[in-house]
């Protein structure tokens, strides 16, 4: 086995590719020829998001800008760094800020929080640019209308994920940005206590919508950004929105393939 037909000594990788262990994991061995390359995509759970063969122009960076793929990749980066951060972070008013302080002072060379924060900014930008690319190439036109809608939902979810994460460091920037952001909910028509129409929802003299029962209260779990709000945003940020966004991402990727793959000119 150590030598091929011509009697040359075979390299390590080549022999590894023929071993039982390798073949049990990656059935087709090292992809050396056309058939092997096709199977390596078909048989891999991750790579089979792609079709086996692609139109020549469709893989060009100039056409796709790789923005959609990068958004997904950055989401993965955020998930991993986020899980690591969860080890150190307790979502209470008492500990939240000091835990973040600890993180920067006790963990040598730690850049997980930095990566998480900057990647979050970056993901918002790449998602926008992806949307822009899809628009400019007319890729929302039939039969891809529904997938564009799913994309818009993903965009909103991305912003919500970023917004909920904003509160967690529990510093002045966090609490006041969330205060400004959620103050808008006070003015929701009918549902916010300072919104138009809210005064109409009353029984006799009793207002049904007031500061303790409107959407902002539901969002924050209180009348101001405090303990309950921190816990709510933490749960939404770590479990709630990721759960929803993964479902929509699955639909998004599935529909790309079902709607005929990447758009090509007729």
């Amino acid at each position: 086995m150590a030598k091929d037909q011509k009697g040359k000594k075979r390299g390590f990788i080549s022999r590894l590719g023929d071993s039982q262990v390798w073949k049990s994991i990656i059935r087709t061995g090292v992809p050396r020829n056309r058939r092997g390359r096709m199977f390596s995509v078909l048989n891999s759970v991750f790579l089979h998001l792609h079709p086996v063969r692609m139109p020549r122009h469709a893989v060009r960076l100039k056409y796709t800008w790789c923005a959609g793929g990068l958004s997904f990749y950055i989401f993965c980066v955020l998930t991993i760094t986020g899980i690591l951060l969860m080890f150190y972070y307790r979502p209470t008013v008492e500990y939240a800020y000091t835990d973040i302080m600890d993180l920067s002072e006790q963990v040598p060379l730690g850049i997980m929080r930095e990566i998480h924060r900057w990647a979050a900014h970056l993901m918002v930008i790449t998602v926008w640019i992806h949307m822009f690319r899809v628009f400019m190439t007319g890729s929302y036109k039939p039969p891809r209308e529904f997938n564009w809608m799913v994309g818009v939902i993903l965009l909103v979810l991305t912003l919500l994920l970023s917004f909920t994460g904003y509160l967690l460091p529990w510093d002045q920037l966090a609490i006041w940005a969330i205060t400004v952001g959620t103050n808008m909910a006070r003015a929701t028509p009918f549902l916010g206590h300072e919104g138009p129409g809210a005064a109409l929802l009353s029984i006799g003299d009793i207002n049904l919508v007031h500061a303790g029962s409107d959407v902002r209260f539901a969002l924050l779990g209180g009348r101001f950004v405090g303990e309950a709000a921190l816990l709510r945003f933490y749960v939404l940020h770590c479990i709630g929105f990721p759960f929803i966004i993964i479902i929509f991402m699955a639909i998004h990727f599935w529909r790309i393939r079902k709607d005929g793959g990447i758009t090509t000119p007729v």
Partner: protein, 355 residues
């Protein structure tokens, strides 16, 4: 400044043939060549490099959380240029009856492994390198611990919502914070159903879908990105407007002399007091709003937008025109504020209903 942008915008991204003619006459499509791109880049770079010599400019631009927005300016400029460059090239090819650049023989396919996977791998590695370098160079900021009794001035929402916060200057929260975001999401989702033009799928193009691209660019570049930039870099304490090189003086005075439409009509023109009945007081505002949303669309359908109306049909046209009217209501309100100090068109603070 905004006037300049609004005036030039539709010549750079012409929505119809008339603008397109002028676009060609002024040779504005030269922006989308290599030379034009380099000029834009140099312009932006000189502005930022020159700006960095100014203390106030440096303070705001180099704030760690603002760095991504500086990046955003460059990225948006670059990708706008890149897409329009490919679009103009394709337009020329279509004019000459050639196939577009993206066209390929249906049988001419490449294997995903290795042709695509390697591009993806390189992109991922570069992205990771960028993130790691960025994270080492720039520590994530952490301000003083949260203090509910001490609000910073200015208090800003996260940067991607600053466009909405900027609208708060001109509209009440229920419009800027609730109605407009909802309209935006619905409007974005409605795009594929409103744009019934079958051309321009799978390649960059402009001439075949002038109107769609032009309007999208307007919403995206002017109403979203520009407002974010204004909200981030040019709004200081008390949400006052500051030039890029101006010191954020907390004591800067901005006169608050805005008055409502009803006050204009009854107090200044009729020289009588405001009527007690709310509906009579605000009827002019209501008439104006009703006219804007109910009378204007059919009038436009009969005159300027006749062709469009016939093409889209009743339902599509109605949805389309309402969305557009919402979008341009923002610049309209801005100008009303700047020129006439107009505060609200309809002002019923009793029920939090101000437009």
């Amino acid at each position: 400044m905004l006037t300049f942008i609004l005036l030039t915008f539709f010549f750079i991204f012409p929505p119809n043939d008339w603008f397109y003619k002028w676009n060609k006459k002024f040779k504005l499509d030269l922006i989308w060549t290599n030379k034009g791109g380099i000029l834009i880049l140099l312009g932006l770079l000189t502005f930022f490099l020159f700006g960095l010599t100014d203390e106030n400019f440096k303070l705001i631009v180099l704030k760690p959380d603002n760095v991504p927005i500086v990046g955003l300016i460059f990225l948006v400029a670059f990708f706008t240029w890149l897409s329009m460059k490919q679009a103009t090239e394709n337009d020329k090819r279509i004019d000459n009856n050639e196939k577009v650049n993206e066209y390929h023989d249906p049988d001419d396919k490449v294997l995903t492994w290795p042709d695509l996977v390697y591009i993806e791998l390189i992109a991922l590695v570069l992205c990771t390198v960028l993130l790691v370098v960025w994270s080492i160079a720039l520590p994530a900021p952490l301000e003083q611990p949260a203090n509910p009794t001490l609000s910073p001035n200015p208090s800003k929402a996260p940067w991607y919502f600053l466009g909405l916060q900027e609208m708060l200057v001109y509209f009440d929260p229920w419009i800027a914070g609730v109605l407009f975001p909802t309209i935006m999401i619905i409007g974005l989702m409605a795009i594929p159903y409103l744009d019934i033009n079958k051309e321009g799928v799978g390649y960059y193009s402009f001439k075949q879908r002038k109107m769609a691209v032009s309007l999208f660019m307007f919403g995206w570049l002017v109403l979203w990105i520009l407002l974010i930039i204004v909200g981030t870099f040019l709004r200081g304490p008390n949400w006052n407007f500051f030039g890029p090189f101006e010191y954020w003086d907390i004591h800067k005075l901005a006169p608050l002399t805005n008055i409502n439409l009803s006050e204009y009509i009854y107090i200044i023109w009729f020289r009588s007091g405001l009527p007690d009945n709310i509906l009579i007081r605000e009827m002019w505002g209501f008439l104006l709003i009703l006219g804007y949303f109910m009378v204007l669309p059919p009038l436009l359908a009969k005159s300027m937008l006749n062709k469009l109306y016939k093409k889209l049909g009743n339902l599509r046209y109605s949805v389309f025109i309402i969305l557009i009217l919402f979008a341009i209501s923002l610049p309209i309100k801005m100008y009303l504020r700047w020129m006439f100090n107009l505060k609200y068109i309809v002002a019923i603070p009793e029920y939090f209903f101000n437009i």
